[in-house]
Symmetry: C2
Subunit: 323 residues, 2 copies
């Protein structure tokens, strides 16, 4: 094959724009976009490196899905409506099967999320995907990390720890589980669901929010740091999936607190609004579990059965000296 | 060193925002930006892969400069005012010297261009840099590729071919040149100057524009394809630098037409406005050379001394079967 980079982008990634704000999409030096009046622009970028952020054996369709999902998760955490994205794709060879599958996974989620691909770049090199997503929110309504206040309840959506379990199953270090449970955990690793509807619903309700990419403890720590607050977390309240409940409890807790890659949202709600959370959970069909409380003492304390509890090591970190 | 990714970004890349449109910069799940009323948003992304887009021996400061420059060049080609960018940086090790030098080159150009870094991601892996730039233009005034019309003059800014010569000098296949000329060519390869002031000045004057990243013939070809037009190019009129004039004429011409990586602008001007171009060149202190004319016959024809001339092979292509 001798397709040039422009042909590659066009062939696999150009779809008609659905968003009225796309004045000019793929095919020029830059896309031309119209942000609706009264809205602010939200921008985030995330890279997935082959063999580092996903096992080399990962289905290309899952890579395409996940590369977009982890970016959309950042928009969800800000309460933004997804609008546009650009894709920088570096691949070792022009493998048409890979590209077709990758594009399939990417577009399936893009269509679900209502986000338009408006530009990109392709290069030859070790497999790496960088996506930059753009979304909009009515001015001043974005969810930020810095709004948590003492007394706010701390919540987490869905279940945490499944992606950590899924990764252990893929790399052969995980427990032996019934097939259906193993597949559920694997699915959570490969096809995370960005919590976009939740993010939109939290506008005006949550005082802060973040997505769980690096591990619950670490990500909640970012909220506390930016909000100049502390928190107490009751590890007994953490929501475990059936797959995680079938694991060694200590290991399950470590995944839930520190493994990351779940892309659930962690958010805080002022006490006078907490009564609204159960109705929201029912409306979304998504567990929203209260796992602790923001307080004034700096730092993040875990308790278990009312007693102080030392959590396992912190979450995913690039540049760990040992890896 | 055990700095986490967030610390790395903060330490080397966080600078106070200068742009009033930055509501929230680095440090949350996404940046919050305000596009000025009446302006459209321009977005482009480009990746540089180590050993592919630049030699492994390249000075990290030059890599930081160039990674931003090639992206700013896309904004220049659209006539946009640079506003914001996000940086996805993948490095094999947390080499503090590398990061400090890279950041130095990046910030030097960012400050010159008036663009704010508002977010990013770092990962461990083979060296790769993806930057997404955002700029703004008054609605409807962006320079596009699709506006060239038969009769328009074709222009190129500055000199073309120097980056091709520079690369040949770096990889040891270039000619023996006086040191000052060799250094000039090398500088053009390592520190391209995005033609931002020219892009702004071309709004309302040029009928189309593109930046020369893949080679003059190939990039002009994109204008013609999008504009459904053809062109005749007089290769004798191509502007050669002193360094290029010191080379074998055939080789110099091949670099000028096909090597790319120069990041000059190629643009078209309607005949009734061409008289304004020399004054603009004088005002900018930048050569703007008429190299041909758009016509109706499809395809791109080169002439030399009035005779048809077969140009050398086309420009830079990723996924070349032979490389």
């Amino acid at each position: 094959m001798s397709l040039g980079e422009f042909d590659l982008i066009r062939h696999y990634f150009t779809r008609p724009s659905r968003d009225a704000g796309v004045v000019l999409g793929v095919g020029d030096d830059a896309a031309i976009l119209a942000v609706p009046p009264g809205e602010q622009l939200l921008v985030s970028t995330d890279t997935l490196v082959g063999g580092r952020h996903f096992p080399d054996s990962t289905d290309p369709e899952a890579i395409g899905w996940k590369a977009l999902a982890v970016n959309l998760s950042d928009l969800a955490a800000m309460g933004a409506t997804p609008r546009w994205c650009v894709l920088a794709l570096t691949v070792p060879t022009a493998d048409m099967d890979f590209l077709a599958s990758f594009a399939q996974g990417f577009h399936t989620l893009a269509q679900q999320a209502g986000i338009d691909l408006v530009g990109g770049d392709t290069a030859r090199g070790p497999l790496s995907i960088t996506i930059t997503v753009m979304g909009t929110v009515p001015a001043g309504q974005a969810l930020r990390r810095d709004g948590a206040r003492a007394g706010d309840g701390i919540y987490v959506s869905g279940m945490t720890g499944d992606a950590g379990l899924g990764l252990a199953l893929v790399d052969g270090t995980g427990p032996v589980l019934p097939n259906d449970l193993a597949l559920q955990a694997w699915q959570r690793l490969d096809r995370p669901e960005p919590r976009l509807a939740l993010g939109l619903a939290l506008r005006g309700l949550a005082s802060s929010a973040i997505d769980i990419s690096d591990g619950l403890l670490q990500d909640l720590g970012h909220i506390l740091e930016r909000s100049d607050a502390g928190a107490t977390l009751d590890v007994e309240t953490l929501p475990f999936s059936p797959a995680l409940r079938a694991c060694n409890p200590g290991q399950a807790l470590a995944w839930a607190l520190a493994a990351g890659d779940d892309y659930e949202l962690c958010f805080t709600v002022p006490p006078e609004r907490e009564a609204e959370v159960p109705a929201l959970a029912a409306q979304l069909g998504l567990a929203l579990t209260r796992i602790g409380c923001v307080d004034t003492m700096p730092g993040l304390r875990c308790i278990r059965q009312g007693e102080p509890f030392a959590p396992p090591a912190a979450g995913f970190q690039h540049f760990r000296p040992t890896s």
